[in-house]
Every structure is written in structure tokens, then in C-alpha cells.
Symmetry: C2
Subunit: 208 residues, 2 copies
DNA sequence: ACAAATTTAGACAGTCTTGTCTAATTCGTC
DNA sequence: GACGAATTAGACAAGACTGTCTAAATTTGT
């Protein structure tokens, strides 16, 4: 395991203050001195870890965006699939869990570092996702007024049932991810889906 | 400031490993020995802090539930008001931010302690909120199939635009909270609201 | 095979922290 | 005011960690 990977693992488990350079060295299979050779000190090592994780997570997110259903065949199923991939490949995977935890635990201690993350991460991914939803709306598949709001709400809904697990740093099962995504996308489409006319809605409500 | 409050503040800022008993003592305005008299050691102090925060947050949440719009006059406005109160009094306030951060940073280190939190916190508050939505649905104000899912999604939507701020441990402004709640509730009602004639509402209100 | 660069193990000083101990001081209550 | 309980300041031992240093071993490139 590389130094950065080992450091990410230990910083995550123990926090910055609790992390032990000897433990990182042992986990990386190198001597302590080698770590000090590559990274001047503990703090430099930490910032290198965060930058690396941000970069890798971003790459994963944009790779997943490539599978966004721009021309949906089955809108609900396609969006559920996208939400599941997003969760599995970007949010619940090793890098995603590590980065989230480091931001949560040490974010306040390194304002400029995590400001950088904010600009490079959410600052770039949210608008990119919003653009996808805007395109879907423009193509007549959705009734979305504010694509930025819709994008944030889409992710919030897709993760709604995983919040407690995320809080405790756990890894949700595949089934939990699918459940949450399914419920989330259904609600999203009840709000923004275009299939049913107002009249049809009235009719359905009347029969209910 | 009480020992527990000072300890909560320092544990939050520095993490468990980084927290310094001398600093807690200074912040609490007592001597170190007094802390050791009241709480056997650092770990006991930490668990006391988490239990105290859980209790106080729960009290706040159930107090806020009392203002849930069971007989809404203006459903959208009432739900927005409820979401804002929930955020301001339970999630964004001092206790809420502290508890969330401690769970995020140290949750994995104390499985039984945070299992207890899970049972006492989300385990009691989610069903209580779900029951409110079930009652709203039963009274004909909402079209909700699964109240548990609706309750989780309601909170997820209300907080959708505060996620990044929460991640970094920040405190959203009143305006941000209002914005997020407004957008969230509007989407929630687009998904679960019943578009009912004014006459029908009047009728139901009269009969209630 | 050789030379340069890198890595390694271990020792080391300096600093910090926890938890204990003691003796003096303050507080609460009668 | 007096007496017991609680609090305080400070010293202290024991242990942990960071970052440096040195000399030996290993890898790398040619």
C-alpha cells in the first residue's frame, strides 16, 4: 500500500491528532524516515492526502456523470441506476468515505485546504449535474424550474435513507443503496416528472 | 461554563485524541483535579458529554414536534415554518452541531455508545415524525404511502442546500436555512401534496 | 560491476499528556 | 465561628509522539 493510501486510512481511523506516523509507516510497509523524506512533516502529509482524495473522487464523479441518462428510455429506472452508481462508485466507496470523514473531522482546522476542496469538489460537480438536469428538462423529460436546486435535491433524496449510516462512517449494503435510490428517485419524479398532466393528477386524486 | 459544556466544546474542536484536559479545565474555570473527581477519566468524561448532548437534542426535537402543523391552515407555509424551527432549534444550534460532529468523528471508536445514541435519537425521533405525516395524510392533507420514507425525505429535502456547510461544521445563516426549507418543502409538496379545492379544505376544516 | 541515490533501523532529545498525589485553601452548613 | 466536604495549585512519574541524526544496507541506473 502506498504511503498516501496508508496515511488516508490511519488519518481516517484515528483523526489527525491521534494518527501515529510509525503506524502509517508500518501500514505502508516503509520506514518512518522515508515518510519524512517524501513529505516534510505530518501536516504536509495530511494535506497531500486530502488533495489526492479530492482528485480521485472528482475523477470518479465525472466518470459516473458520463453514464447520466441524457436520452432516457425508462426515466425512473435510468435515474435509479444513475443514483446507485453515484453512491456505489463515488460516495460509499473507500475514497469517498475517507474524504468525507476527513472533511468532517478536520475541515475547520485547515480552512484554505478545504476551501480548495469546496471549489474543486462541490463547486465543479454540482453545476455539472445541474446542467444534466437542465438538459433533461429542456428535452421535455422533466419539469424543473431551478436545475441547481433540483440537482442538490436529487442527491439529497437519493441518500435520504443512508444518512445515519454515513454519520457513523459505515458502509451501506448494496440493498440499502438500491432502496434509498429507488425511494428517492420516485419522490423526485413525483415532484419533477412530466408524465402526468394536471388533469390526470386531479383524476387520480379523485379516484383515491 | 459547566465542565460538560466546556468538554463538549473542546472535544468538538480538537477531537478526542487532540482534546487536552487542562484546556477543558481552563475553559470550564475549574482545576484539572475537579474534572478527575467528577469523571473518572477522559473516556468517562467523553461518554458523559455524548449522553448529555443526546438528551438535550432529543428534548429540543420533541419540543419542536409540538409545533408540527397537525391542522394546517397554510400547509406550505406551516411546513416551511416547521422545517425552519427544526433546523434552527435542533440541527444548527450549538448542541446539534456538537453532537453531529462527535458522532461523525468518534462514532466508530465507541460502537455501544453510539448504538445507544442511534436508539435514543433517530430511533425515537424518526418514527415520531413519521406519525405526524401519517396523521396529515389520514386527514387528507397529503398523499403519502410510506410515512417513514416521507419523514426521512422531508428532512433530507429541508437540509438539501445546507449539506456542504454541515460537512465543514459551519453554521448556516438564517437566510440559508429559510431558502433550503422553502425549496425543500415546495418539492416535498409537489411530490406528496394533494391539490385540493379551496371548498374541500374549508369543508374539512369546518368538520374538524 | 560500480557508483550514486534511496531506504532502513535504531537511537535520541525535546515536548506533551494523562492520571495521581499532597498540602493548602475555599465553600457550605449548622 | 467551626467543622467537614469540596476545590485548588502544583509537583510528579510514566508513557507516547514528533522530527532529527547516523551509519549500514539496499536499490537503481549505467
Amino acid at each position: 500500500m502506498s504511503i498516501i493510501d496508508a496515511a488516508a486510512s490511519v488519518f481516517c481511523r484515528e483523526g489527525f491528532a491521534g494518527a501515529n506516523i510509525d503506524l502509517i509507516a508500518a501500514e505502508a510497509g516503509v520506514s518512518r524516515q522515508t515518510i519524512y523524506n517524501h513529505h516534510r512533516d505530518k501536516e504536509k502529509l495530511f494535506t497531500a492526502v486530502v488533495r489526492d482524495l479530492t482528485e480521485r473522487c472528482n475523477a470518479g464523479i465525472f466518470a459516473t456523470f458520463a453514464s447520466f441518462p441524457d436520452q432516457p428510455r425508462d426515466l425512473e429506472g435510468d435515474l435509479i441506476g444513475f443514483a446507485v452508481r453515484m453512491n456505489q462508485n463515488c460516495i460509499c466507496n473507500r475514497d469517498g468515505r475517507f474524504l468525507r470523514k476527513l472533511i468532517q473531522t478536520e475541515g475547520e482546522r485547515y480552512p484554505e485546504l478545504f476551501g480548495e476542496w469546496r471549489d474543486q469538489g462541490p463547486g465543479r460537480t454540482w453545476p455539472a449535474l445541474a446542467a444534466r438536469f437542465a438538459r433533461l428538462a429542456h428535452a421535455g423529460h422533466l419539469a424543473v424550474d431551478d436545475p441547481d436546486v433540483a440537482a442538490r435535491q436529487f442527491l439529497a433524496l437519493a441518500n435520504a435513507e443512508l444518512q445515519t449510516t454515513f454519520m457513523l462512517g459505515g458502509m451501506p449494503s448494496e440493498d440499502e443503496v438500491l432502496q434509498s435510490a429507488t425511494h428517492g428517485v420516485r419522490t423526485f419524479l413525483r415532484a419533477f416528472g412530466k408524465r402526468r398532466s394536471a388533469a390526470a393528477v386531479e383524476k387520480q386524486l379523485a379516484s383515491a
